[in-house]
Amino acid sequence: MKIESAPKPFVAGTTALVSIRNLRVNFRVDRHTAFEAVKGISFDIPVNSTVALVGESGSGKSVTSLSILGLLPKENSSVLPGSEAIYAGRNLVEMSQRELRDLRGKEISMIFQEPMSSLNPVFSVGFQLAETLRIHMGMSQAAAYARGIELLREVGIPDPEKSIDKYPHQMSGGQQQRVMIAMAIACEPKLLIADEPTTALDVTIQKQILDLIRELQRKHQMSVLFITHDLAVVGEVADYVVVMRNGEIREQGPAAQIFESPRDAYTQALLQCRPQLHRRAKKLPVIDDFMSGHPVSYADAPERKRGLTGSEPIILDVENLSKSFYSREGFFGKREFKAVDNVSFRLAKGKTLGLVGESGSGKTTVGLTLMRLHDATGGQALFEGKDILSLSAKEFMDYKRRIQIIFQNPYASLNPRFTVGHIVTEPMRIHGIGSSEQDRTERAFELLSKVGLPEVSFYKYPHEFSGGQRQRIAIARCLTMKPDILICDESVSALDVSVQAQVLNLLQDLQDEYRMSYIFISHDLAVVKYISDQVMVMNEGRIVEMANSDDIYLNPQHPYTQKLLSSIPKGWEGAHPRVAQ
């Protein structure tokens, strides 16, 4: 198609590599209804710079990137006519699949969120790397291999000559993502699209990958379209920021402008909702405050004091808790894997114990073992003087309702075939709480309104609710049993930033009201710092450090804790200290 003139760039003084104008994408829900996922957005990706596309789930940020590459599923989506994504004088959304295929991987390439599922497990990484080079650069097998080794070295894979023959499962998640990046930059693309490249990775690995992307961007002078929900990450990598919500652009501009003087209420809300490390507001600002025109600044909110004095009554005393898993080895042998290794801690009544660690540290296993969803291999957990781990199943039944758990994934933890009413009243029925069905229903209504859900929810099914609402249902289900201890296993990790703030506020309100004790398990150090009185850091099944929350963040003792804390994305202020001063 003919382009009369290149569109005027949004940011003065830059040349646009890709100009997106009036991009509209429709998704078909069923035969009669369609839903506009992207509603006519326009922005530029300037040459040699990083543009961050920020938004919560459903904002249309991933759809935007997929439509640039023509990767949207044809069966149920379409880019509406009039949309433009102009690259080198040609409109990408109107190109044929064949033309696009020539571009993809060569001039525009992409890395995805899950490195584990983006690599083909039956081919060695060398083969997959060489494939890209052979197809797009027409290299011979030998030349492609040689270049592959070079690329692996560039992305920081140790011993690339040997690693090139490894299969994906022989590498860690971080290394797999490095291989994905190596494949993406193999043909020296002009644009690299990174769709949540670090979301599935641990915080220490995230930092390495972010550093790598930034370094490669400078070295190869390419443009990067970085898609993420995490503003702290954006602050570290982006030159320009585009904030999206519900398929529309709320605000765009240079990073400094977005972070220092955001004009849009939604952007302001996103910046303020995240718990921050240097302060602890009594209540997190939520998105409604901003959208209704009453912005609250995180810095102005009253602070909450945290920490233990040492004189609090102890509700749960865990000693030398161990849990091993066994895998078969050889014909008779078995190998022991110590998921939790001699963990001891005390939980104070009405307080929150934060449990942080990276994946595989055993933090979730601690929670599940205390709930007896796993059988402990050793140790004891004293609850009111009784070791709940050695009680018989029948004796434990009385204690079961007093220790409850909220899982990570609100989409998976509610039975999809039950109504919310059924879900919330079931525990009461099992434990004989409430005098009659009517009484139980009344209690359920009460609890639903307590967690901020309308009463009609009682009659609905889980699939009709959003993630945050479902987590509220899960919380209401636990509250029916009036537990003394609530284990929150990554309970807010799967939620959007703004919803996260609401659920954290709810959990805090409930603790204030019922004096429940929380064991708050998370990989998110900022959230743990915000909600916890005490923090316990775990690594490879052991406790490496335990202290009051403020102490551990200000003055970490153990080198692992120090490494963990230094890996937290610092956001704009952290990455640009002179601006913050």
Partner: protein, 362 residues
């Protein structure tokens, strides 16, 4: 919930996942047509079982091997269609035998002691025959069989047996498979090992041998026997599938959450997990109905099927074996086509059902 008088009295009943699945199924044209076809067959089965139609299927109303009405003109000139009375007399085994016996007696010049009796019988038959054959029709909508029974009514009556056997044995097989699969998948460990060994041994026995063995043990011919044979041998596929589903689901967070609130094993197995795998059970059920309708036909064809006084599609096909040699194809065509229509409709419906029930848990 009517007893509850709560602040919210008026509420819209939200569509559950089943309602949504029904909505998807209704949008599927092929699915709905095949559902209608299958439903027609089931109604026919019920009506026939209740004695509303085809009650008099065994009555010999037509000439033997009377051709289908629409086919008569082609057949008559060729003389293939038997002119009712005399052929009837020849074909009738009793009469033919008597006749044969008579000639033999004359040849050997031995006085047949039964000659008088036979003469009497023959004259009575001759007297009765004209009146009977006069009422017989020389064509029927779908033709007649060897004895002049209406093939249409036989097909209807036969569908009663075949579909009932298919349904009942599928229910038995799916029930067994689901129960064993659920137990194996949910409890795991040695229970799973034990049931898997059992499954492996069971499937290693050749199918027909197994059927013969069970038939020998039951030692009785009849519908119940076929249902048991098919039910007891057909559970294996369902077992594997359901076991896999339970293995997957017991790890899910909603089941863990149910454990955390104190739900018992049985409750988790059947109240929590079962509704979430029931779509698999339903699809298995309909696949097996189709398979067992065919199996019944094969069994009856091989002679392990229903007793002689019961008609089924299988026994009709069995009869058709010898008829085909005489060029009387209509019984075969009627039974074969009806079965093909039902099986195709049911298979298409199963496909549509699987699509509709595909639980994309949002």
């Amino acid at each position: 919930m009517s007893a509850i008088t709560m602040p919210v009295r008026e509420h819209e009943v939200s569509p559950g996942l089943w309602a949504l699945a029904w909505r998807r199924l209704r949008a599927d044209k092929v699915g709905m047509v095949s559902l209608a076809a299958a439903a027609f067959f089931f109604l026919m089965m019920v009506a026939s079982a209740a004695g509303l139609i085809a009650k008099d299927w065994a009555k010999e109303i037509g000439a033997n091997y009377a051709p289908p009405t629409w086919f008569k003109d082609d057949v008559a000139p060729a003389g293939a269609a038997p002119g009712a009375p005399e052929v009837k007399a020849q074909d009738d085994p009793g009469v033919a035998a008597a006749h044969g016996g008579d000639t033999k007696a004359e040849e050997s010049s031995v006085v047949d002691p039964l000659a008088d009796v036979l003469k009497e019988v023959r004259s009575e038959a001759a007297k009765a025959a004209p009146t009977e054959t006069a009422a017989r029709l020389d064509t029927l909508p779908l033709g007649a069989d060897k004895w002049g029974r209406d093939v249409l009514k036989k097909v209807i009556k036969g569908s009663e047996t075949s579909i009932f056997v298919g349904l009942a044995s599928a229910v038995v097989a799916v029930f067994l498979g689901t129960l064993l699969g659920a137990v194996a998948g949910f409890y795991g460990k040695w229970v799973d090992d034990f049931l898997n060994w059992f499954y492996n041994i069971f499937t290693s026995i050749p199918y027909l041998l197994l059927i013969l063995a069970i038939a020998a043990v039951l030692n009785k011919k009849g519908m119940m026997t076929i249902i048991l044979i098919l039910g007891l041998t057909g559970w294996t596929g369902t077992f594997r599938l359901i076991r896999g589903e339970y293995l997957k689901h017991k790890q899910r967070e909603y089941v863990r959450a149910a454990d955390a609130i104190g739900a018992s094993n049985t409750r988790r197995m059947f109240v929590h997990i079962f509704p979430n795998v029931s779509h698999v059970v339903l699809v298995q059920l309909s696949i097996l109905v189709v398979a067992f309708i065919k199996s019944e036909v094969i069994l009856s064809f091989l002679g392990f099927g229903v007793p002689v006084d019961v008609v089924s599609w299988g026994s009709m096909l069995n009869e058709a074996q010898s008829e085909m040699i005489l060029g009387k194809w209509w019984q075969l065509a009627a039974a074969g086509t009806t079965m093909a229509i039902l099986v195709t409709a049911f298979s298409l419906f199963t496909d549509a059902l699987r699509d509709a029930l595909d639980p994309k848990l949002k």
